[in-house]
Amino acid sequence: MTGYDLPEDDVDTYSRSAIVVAAAVSLAVTALLAWVAAGFDVFYEGLFRVGPTVEGGGVGADWVAGNTMPALDLLIALVHAADVILGVFILFLLLLHWAAFRRLAARMRSPEEAREGVAADGGTERPEGGEPE
């Protein structure tokens, strides 16, 4: 038997009823939150309240830049710090993976080698030139 075994029913999976229940709860909660966010009202003016770049200034345009509440200032300062700290960390992770990928790529057969190699070692030919989907 050279064929593969499909795992099919062996693997963990989610039941259809669980998905239906979760979807129903999710829609109900979303509808509720939308209703609360719109001020316990149907959408009649809620959607377009912020349009500060509209000619003459939309709602929000007259809000003075700057904020006097220390707690909110702190919150914004924290997010700024998080942006920078996590940004630098993400950049590091990117360089880490870039470098690791280059090392891994160096171990793979080069495209030219692969073309010649198929005939030379009589190995199995990769149907799509070694390029996984």
């Binding site: 050279t2 064929g3 593969y4 075994d5 499909l6 693997v11 963990d12 999976t13 989610y14 039941s15 669980a18 999710s26 829609l27 979303t30 609360v36 966010a37 719109a38 959607l47 349009g51 500060p52 770049t53 509209v54 939309g58 929000g60 809000w63 003075v64 830049a65 700057g66 904020n67 006097t68 509440m69 909110l72 919150l75 914004i76 997010v79 700024h80 998080a82 942006d83 920078v84 996590l86 940004g87 993400i90 950049l91 992770l93 990117l94 870039w98 690791a100 990928f101 090392r103 891994l104 793979m108 057969r109 080069s110 080698e113 692969a114 990769r126 149907p127 390029e131 996984p132 989907e133």
Partner: protein
């Protein structure tokens, strides 16, 4: 045979992942058309100006609320959800994997730690459900999305917010908070696109998030493969160029949005749409647009993953209907 990437996700998870990606991309395109409107004026115009873009952002926001709630409920009410949640909790091995990855980058380790591997070359059970990066992505994105949903709903309900915090400027601070918070996610998604699109063994796309686990044929016949098996794969001719190019674009995109988030402090939407002058502004404009281009690449790859899934499904279907065709093997590019 080389054991390539065994399926790791259930069908529900693959579908959820694609929907979440589409929704988050919609939120990025609309949200940053608002926040960086002077840099991304074309995107703002393309999506119907201020009115259109804000409406689309809110619709996509409701989509996000629905998706997040759905996910939380699934994690709570199902055994699979609870067991998967346990597999996502970071362990000491994940820290070891990060340290070893740094060593691997510097040439001081020969292999990546199993908890860092995307390309397994191992039996499915020997490789964790998620790499250490994958776990970080799940946790950081989950926290981020929750905070974004809460702050987004608060901004939406401005009257409620003003009532609670007394002033309009306080409400405005939440708009700033919301936009700056999204920057972390924006940078993370750019990295995520690079990580899963440009691994040399999977290029142009790692399919584990698209082809559900139950559809992946598993074989453990051939256990005598030395190493991880990556030596047996051949590199795609375009990999070097494309991966380096994307590496540069992702770097520029991340640096630009990070810088802009520092420079553009204050209420993110100015009174008038004005392209500001100066070299820094010009560079930021170019950089942010490059970042948005990276997101478009991610969007295309996500759609491509779904095309592959459809093709894979059809192939399996045909195989079932003609079980004796060939020698019973599932035709697969992964063998």
């Amino acid at each position: 045979m080389t054991n390539l990437d065994h399926g790791k996700f259930t069908r529900m998870t693959t579908t959820f992942h694609s929907l979440l990606a589409l929704d988050v991309f919609a939120l990025f395109f609309t949200g940053y058309a608002i926040m960086f409107n002077d840099h991304l004026w074309w995107l703002l115009v393309l999506m119907g100006g201020n009115v259109g873009v804000v409406a689309l952002h809110r619709i996509a926001g409701l989509g996000l609320v629905a998706l997040v709630t759905f996910w939380v409920v699934m994690m709570l009410i199902t055994d699979t959800g609870r067991s998967n949640f346990r597999k996502v909790v970071p362990t000491g091995d994940d820290i070891a994997a990060f340290v070893q990855d740094v060593k691997f980058m510097l040439g001081r380790a020969d292999e990546r730690h199993p908890n860092a591997r995307q390309f397994a070359g191992y039996d499915s059970d020997e490789v964790p459900l998620l790499s250490y990066v994958g776990k970080g992505v799940v946790f950081i994105f989950a926290i981020e999305l929750t905070l974004l949903v809460i702050s987004g709903l608060l901004i939406w309900s401005k009257t409620g917010l003003m009532q609670y915090f007394a002033t309009k400027t306080a409400a405005m601070a939440f708009v700033v908070f919301h936009g700056l918070l999204g920057i972390i996610m924006l940078m993370g998604v750019m990295f995520h696109i690079f990580e899963h699109g440009f691994h040399p063994a999977f290029y142009p796309l790692e399919t584990k998030a698209f082809i559900p686990r139950r559809m992946i044929p598993e074989s453990h016949d051939d256990e005598d493969v030395e190493g991880t098996g990556i030596e047996r794969l051949s590199l795609a001719p375009s990999w070097n160029l494309v991966a380096n190019l994307m590496g540069v674009l992702v770097t520029v995109g991340i640096v630009s949005v990070m810088t802009a988030s520092i420079v553009d402090e204050g209420y993110p939407v100015p009174r008038e749409l004005a392209v500001e002058g100066g070299v820094i502004e010009l560079l930021l404009t170019i950089g942010i647009n490059i970042g948005i281009f990276v997101l478009f690449v991610g969007l295309v790859l996500s759609l491509y993953g779904n095309v592959i899934r459809r093709r894979w499904e059809r192939q399996l279907q045909e195989q079932r209907e003609r079980p004796t065709a060939g020698d019973g093997e599932v035709a697969s590019a992964e063998d």
